[in-house]
């Protein structure tokens, strides 16, 4: 008798707590839904960028304002001359310029960054390491406009004074500054990769009588190779898209030349330099957005490939991501 009383009593109170609990659960579910919505928006942004940059370029497919069309961006003659009575929109000179500056930056930046990463992860005493990493982080924190300024005012004059170049501003000058901008990303990603190599790799190699340096160069470095590949790809992507440095330091002549000592203009710098002065919705405007779409696609593919390489390495080393 008594036990049933207690039971009904407890049922009544549990009714109250139940309602309370239900409300809390509803709130919980609502919050989870909201968080998912925000995550979806974050995912949608990348699509929005593609759609809204591409949208401004799309009319190139059927319009032909001021001679601007998709075909015009690769039709001969090979000149970029968007502001003239007979405008030419061939992007090849810009494409070549981008490739030239990017390659110079990679040639200078990659060996330095990789060597520094190897030094930090394998050879440097702990105390020294604690100085290198913040130093490189600070280098990464220098705004690209400041790097561009330095290349424009200081580096260009110094290079010309030392080597007597014909043009003060040229692809080499921009390439060096760009190298400084991509060194931190190559360094950070590859140093992470080297650090991710499990210690038993090193121990096994040392136990077989290899020296510390042999271990680093022949065992650790190859094991981290996919990650190092990722670092180079990400650095390449960053270099292609970098704008302010090349805008300020490369000279800006849209010419077809393979010489690193000629004044050069890149795709990104062209957008930055010209979009401010074009007619909204005109042919030139559309071509610049077309270039932007290309840049977006190329860097996205590079990022995606870089990410895959990184994942592949973790799979290889740990059997999991």
């Amino acid at each position: 008798m008594r036990s049933s009383q207690v039971l009904s009593e407890s049922l009544r109170t549990s009714d109250v707590t139940n309602r309370h609990l239900k409300r809390r659960q509803r709130l919980d579910r609502a919050a989870e839904a909201l968080i998912l919505v925000f995550a979806s928006i974050a995912m949608a942004i990348i699509l929005l960028i593609f759609v809204y940059v591409g949208r401004e370029a799309l009319p190139l497919l059927w319009e032909n304002k001021e001679g601007a069309s998709v075909a015009a961006t690769f039709a001969p003659p090979v000149v970029w001359q968007p502001v003239s009575t007979n405008p030419r929109y061939n992007v090849f000179p810009l494409f070549l310029g981008t490739l030239k500056v990017t390659l110079i930056a990679m040639l200078i930046g990659t060996p330095l960054a990789l060597a520094a990463a190897l030094y930090t992860s394998e050879f440097a005493p702990v105390r020294v390491r604690e100085w290198i990493k913040p130093g490189i982080e600070l280098l990464a924190g220098i705004p690209s406009v400041v790097m561009g300024f330095f290349a424009l005012i200081v580096l260009a004059s110094w290079l010309q004074g030392q080597f007597g170049f014909d043009f003060r501003l040229n692809a080499l000058n921009a390439g060096i500054a760009l190298a400084l901008a991509i060194i931190p990303i190559i360094y950070t990603v590859s140093e992470d990769a080297l650090n991710a190599v499990p210690n038993h790799y090193r121990e096994a190699s040392l136990a077989l009588g290899a020296s510390k340096i042999q271990t680093a160069v022949r065992v650790v470095f190859p094991a981290a190779m996919p990650g190092i590949g990722a670092a180079m790809i990400l650095g390449f992507g960053r270099a292609i898209g970098e704008t302010m440095i090349v805008l300020m330091a490369s000279g800006g002549a849209a010419i077809v030349s393979l010489s690193p000592l000629d004044s050069t203009r890149t795709l990104s710098a062209t957008i930055a330099a010209e979009l401010g002065e074009v007619v909204f919705g005109g042919g030139h405007y559309r071509v610049l957005f077309f270039i932007g779409t290309l840049l977006f696609l190329v860097t996205s593919i590079l990022n995606w490939v870089g990410d895959r390489y990184n994942r592949k390495m973790r799979l290889k080393l740990f059997g999991a991501e």
């Binding site: 709130l27 989870e32 909201l34 968080i35 998912l36 925000f38 995550a39 928006i41 974050a42 995912m43 949608a44 929005l48 960028i49 809204y52 940059v53 401004e56 060996p111 060597a115 520094a116 190897l118 030094y119 050879f123 290198i132 913040p134 600070l138 280098l139 924190g141 220098i142 705004p143 690209s144 406009v145 400041v146 300024f149 330095f150 424009l152 020296s211 340096i213 680093a216 160069v217 992507g237 292609i240 898209g241 970098e242 704008t243 302010m244 990104s268 957008i271 930055a272 979009l275 401010g276 957005f289 932007g292 977006f296 860097t299 590079l302 990022n303 995606w304 870089g306 990410d307 991501e321």
Partner: protein, 297 residues
């Protein structure tokens, strides 16, 4: 022989490291040395005069600060919520997680000039003009470059910075904290709001600081979305244009009719921007180091 090769490998790697750090030191000391010449209270508190050959850079500082504040208001809460998804809700094997993760990683690698185009196409011509048509009856108010759209563009650019930093900190919160909270009958939301988030506070701070430092230095995204060469008045409404430090540096360095005359001003402007971003970066680094040592303890 063996030893000689070994030693030269270490020597070369160490030399490369030293060279990188040396370049950093050269850049910093060059800018500090020449930048100090002109730096004064007047320089920081006065507007430019005589076609930017004299006076200070106050409007550019004001514009930059306003820009990053508006940007943080949008980017930080948004980024924190997405980070909560990544750290607390995401199922690692789900397709949605993989796609979102890929999108955010990709967003971090989009060139800044493309963000500029996106800001112009999406915010100014897309949302802005739609609002003008829909609400303001076709009057041109929001459908033009302005500080509002520039800061929104910058918010999109810095979003991955916030997400990645906050997520990292949230993952560092020990699992036992969550389990204890759930075992006491707290719901998932309560656990996140009362246990995980308070523990990740320093991560939110670091994310915001890193985002601000990035946003203060970027120029390409604001080129077409609201930055102006010179304005006689400070921006006071959302649809005003603004002056920005980085943009001002670009203008002084490349558009000035007399480069030699503006050089001291240019140097000091660079020093101000550099000092600002460095201060922010060093602060973030210190907080981060604390988080890491706390996480490993």
């Amino acid at each position: 022989m063996r030893k000689a090769i070994d030693r030269s490998v270490v020597f070369l790697c160490g030399g490369a490291t030293l060279l990188i750090l040396l370049m950093l030191v050269i850049i910093l000391s060059n800018i500090t040395w020449h930048g100090m010449e002109r730096l004064s209270w007047e320089f920081i508190s006065q507007p430019p005069k005589q076609g930017m050959r004299a006076g200070g850079i106050f409007p550019a500082i004001y514009g930059t600060v306003l820009l990053v504040l508006l940007m943080s208001v949008a980017a930080v809460p948004f980024g924190v919520i997405v980070a909560i998804y990544f750290a607390e809700y995401a199922k690692r094997e789900s397709r949605f997680y993989r796609w979102t993760r890929m999108a955010v990683n990709n967003l971090a690698g989009v060139p800044s000039i493309v963000f500029g185009l996106f800001g112009l196409g999406f915010f100014v011509h897309g949302i802005g003009q739609a609002l003008d048509r829909g609400i303001y009856g076709g009057k041109l108010l929001l459908g033009q470059p302005s500080i509002l759209w520039a800061s929104m563009t910058m918010a999109v650019l810095t979003l991955p910075v916030v997400i990645i930093t906050v997520e990292e900190t949230m993952r560092a919160v020990p699992r036992e904290y969550r389990e204890a909270s759930l075992a006491l009958g707290a719901t998932r939301l309560q656990t996140i709001l009362r246990v995980v988030l308070p523990q990740s506070w320093s991560g939110v701070m670091t994310g915001a600081i890193l985002a601000i430092s990035r946003g203060a230095g970027e120029v390409a995204p604001v080129l077409f979305t609201g930055a102006a060469y010179f304005l006689p008045r400070l921006p006071s409404r959302a649809n005003d244009q603004f002056m920005q430090l980085g943009y001002h540096i670009w203008v002084l360095a490349t558009q000035s009719p007399d480069v030699e005359a503006t050089k001291p001003i240019l140097y000091s402007t660079v020093l101000v921007l550099l000092a600002l971003t460095f201060l922010l970066n060093v602060t973030a680094m210190v907080i981060r180091k604390r988080i890491r040592s706390w996480a490993t303890r």
